[in-house]
């Protein structure tokens, strides 16, 4: 198989926090990402799913270079991007690429298009800025490129002079996507790009991402909590829970036969028109605190299949079917 575009090994991100006040304060640690191995293949549309607090956005931040990992290494396009040398906790962070270098190859689309755009910049200026900042082209060429980007993302050329408040939320999200594409990135990370949009607008943004994926061969890492959206776009699905990968498989396998009990519960809990989830498929409780994650399987506290061994050690990811990996000792 070809070399993956992004190769993540042993990635850990712990955030130190202090709780309590003044002399009573205690230093504690949020275990946001807890040892993730993950490969993103070239040209795939990969969905990263999980509930809030599962570590999705932190993982994306590590790839995009704005979160510094505590341990582990990330390779991008065959070259090391960032790595932590030495033992866990005392490691030395080595950034192999500057933020500026990363930004020309990895771009992000954020959740809320209203806060992602500068309200005082015309959208043409917003789109031209990355081209000029990175010194990629002259002003005249940049103007031409902005026109191309507007066309590519389905915004009328005449709109370049508008301000964000003059656009509707769907158009704004198109502008955010166009801005991400200005520098012709190889990887686009879209973090909940449709969750702030009305349902009648979601389709146009998802269709746009699918078109860009096909037309430009863009690799997309799509982060969401909404499995019904994942179903519409993804080739492959990674499920995270409390900073660990629970299941990794093709989208078809995931929706027809999810193997991890957490994946099963996620699929079953997703609302459907006039179809209630079966009571037996609902899971109890809530995601545990990432400050004190369980010692063994992170899902053991809510799992219907839990046995004592689950609480002893973190289950490793193992193959249960053709390229279907599951971190569960019961499967």
């Amino acid at each position: 198989m070809n070399e993956p575009l992004v190769d993540i090994r042993g990635l850990v991100k712990h955030f130190p926090i202090s709780r309590g006040a003044r002399i009573w304060s205690e230093r504690e640690t949020v275990h946001a990402v807890n040892g993730v191995d993950l490969a993103i293949q070239r040209g795939e549309f990969l969905a990263l799913v999980g509930e809030s607090g599962s570590g999705k956005t932190t993982l994306a931040g590590c790839i995009a270079g704005f979160v510094r990992p505590t341990a582990g290494a990330i390779h991008f396009d065959g070259k090391p991007l960032v790595e932590v040398q030495g033992a866990n906790g005392s490691g030395r962070l080595v950034q192999h690429a500057s933020q500026r270098q990363i930004a020309t190859r990895i771009q992000m689309v954020f959740q809320d298009p209203s806060s992602a755009l500068n309200p005082r910049h015309r959208i043409g200026d917003t789109l031209a800025e990355p081209l000029l900042v990175h010194g990629l082209m002259s002003k005249a060429d940049a103007r031409k490129r902005v026109g191309e980007l507007l066309e590519l993302t389905g915004i009328r050329q005449s709109m370049w002079g508008r301000y964000p408040h003059e656009l509707n939320s769907g158009q704004r999200q198109r502008v955010v996507i166009a801005r991400a594409l200005t520098v012709s990135p190889i990887l686009l990370i879209a973090d909940e790009p449709v969750s702030k949009l009305d349902v009648s607008m979601q389709g146009q943004i998802l269709n746009l991402l699918l078109d860009l994926h096909r037309q430009l061969g863009l690799t997309i890492l799509f982060i969401t909590h909404d499995l019904s959206v994942v179903r519409q776009v993804a080739d492959r699905v990674i499920v995270m829970y409390l900073g660990r990968v629970m299941e990794a498989c093709s989208a078809d396998a995931f929706f027809s036969s999810p193997r991890h009990p957490y994946s099963e519960a996620l699929v079953a809990s997703t609302p459907r028109v006039r179809a209630e989830p079966e009571k037996s498929m609902l899971i109890k409780g809530e995601i545990p605190s990432p400050i004190h994650p369980p010692r063994g399987c992170p899902f053991a506290t809510r799992c219907p299949l839990v046995i004592p061994a689950c609480e002893q050690a973190v289950p490793p990811l193992h193959e249960v079917g053709p390229s279907q990996l599951v971190a569960c000792i019961r499967r």
Partner: protein, 319 residues
């Protein structure tokens, strides 16, 4: 059977720079005792304004300009404050959208619940406490005593949302107005809460106005649905009629656009354009600019609700 709550021709305007901007335009619907009614619409359609108008919570610059809210024969708009306060919070209760914002951060949960009971009933403190514990337990909170002594910030998101529902239940209301109470929690928690909410309202015979942006959630919980678009009722009917045979093109669009976890659709259906800016009054149907079935008449003349049982405000409804 008479309606428990009926909203009749209700209009709400907000004054923006001295100009009245309509937020609700002559909406009508009614809810019977024990009935769960869904109110569905996208952002800006007037869902939350409806909830606030029913409870008499519209504050300037907003004002109710027309219509009535009748609860059990009492016109709430004309009721005096003391009569209104005997109904609000006691017989009609509101479940907030985001309980983490609705809970007072400096009061213990138990004290906040007790305040409601103490206002509405003359009961000894021990009896009030028993009622609070009972309401929390009903919402599936395993350790109600601990929750009573906790501050909002010490509870998880799912627990806070359960507390929000329990607080609404504490006075044994006849109708609950739930303003998208599961939009801020994760799907696994949403599924739990909806399951318990349905069982509980069934058991207590409670009427519910369930407001949501998610047609899928409403479709499993409610028996009838009102679809709002840009401050107007687009369609109202039973779940079977409305989702089985939608007559308003907007209802059909909502139904088609709600992503289905069981089915990949390619390309995804979408509605061109966006909801109209309420600052600009349209003479005709507000969905006309986005409607695939629009006729010449639709742009000039506003449709009224028509039909038998299932009512749609459309000049060219689906067959």
């Amino acid at each position: 059977m008479g309606a428990l709550l009926s909203v009749e021709d209700l209009s709400v305007d907000f004054l923006i720079d001295g100009t009245p901007v309509p937020a609700l335009d002559r909406i009508s619907f009614s809810i019977g005792r024990g009935e769960r009614m869904g109110l569905v619409g996208e952002s800006g359609s007037g869902k939350s304004v409806t909830a606030r108008a029913i409870l008499g919570l519209i504050q300037p610059p907003g004002q109710i300009t027309h219509g009535a809210v009748i609860f059990d024969g009492v016109d709430l708009r004309r009721a005096r404050d003391h009569a209104l306060n005997d109904i609000r919070g006691k017989r009609i209760a509101l479940i907030p959208q985001d309980a983490s914002l609705a809970l007072n951060p400096v009061l213990r949960v138990g004290d906040q619940m007790d305040e409601i009971l103490a206002y509405h009933f003359r009961l000894p403190a021990g009896e009030r406490r028993r009622k609070c514990v009972e309401a929390l337990r009903r919402m599936g909170l395993a350790d109600p005593e601990r929750v009573m002594n906790a501050y909002g910030s010490q509870l998880s998101g799912g627990m806070k949302q359960r507390v929000g529902i329990a607080m609404a239940l504490v006075c044994d209301p006849e109708i609950l107005i739930a303003d998208d109470p599961t939009s801020a929690v994760d799907v696994t928690i949403q599924a739990q809460i909806l399951y318990e909410f349905r069982a509980l309202t069934d058991r207590l015979g409670l009427a519910v106005l369930f407001i949501s942006h998610d047609l899928r959630v409403v479709s499993t919980l409610c028996s009838r649905i009102v679809v709002l678009y840009a401050g107007q009722v687009a369609e109202v009917g039973s779940v079977d009629d409305l989702l089985g045979h939608p007559r308003h093109p907007y209802t059909l669009a909502l139904l088609k656009c709600s992503p289905n976890v069981a089915l990949r659709v390619n390309p995804l259906p979408m509605v061109p354009g966006a909801s109209p800016d309420s600052l600009r009054a349209l003479p005709g149907c507000r969905f006309e600019p986005r409607c695939p079935r629009a006729l010449a008449r639709c742009a000039v003349e506003a449709p009224t609700l028509r039909g038998n049982g299932q009512l749609a405000a459309c000049w060219n409804p689906l067959p």
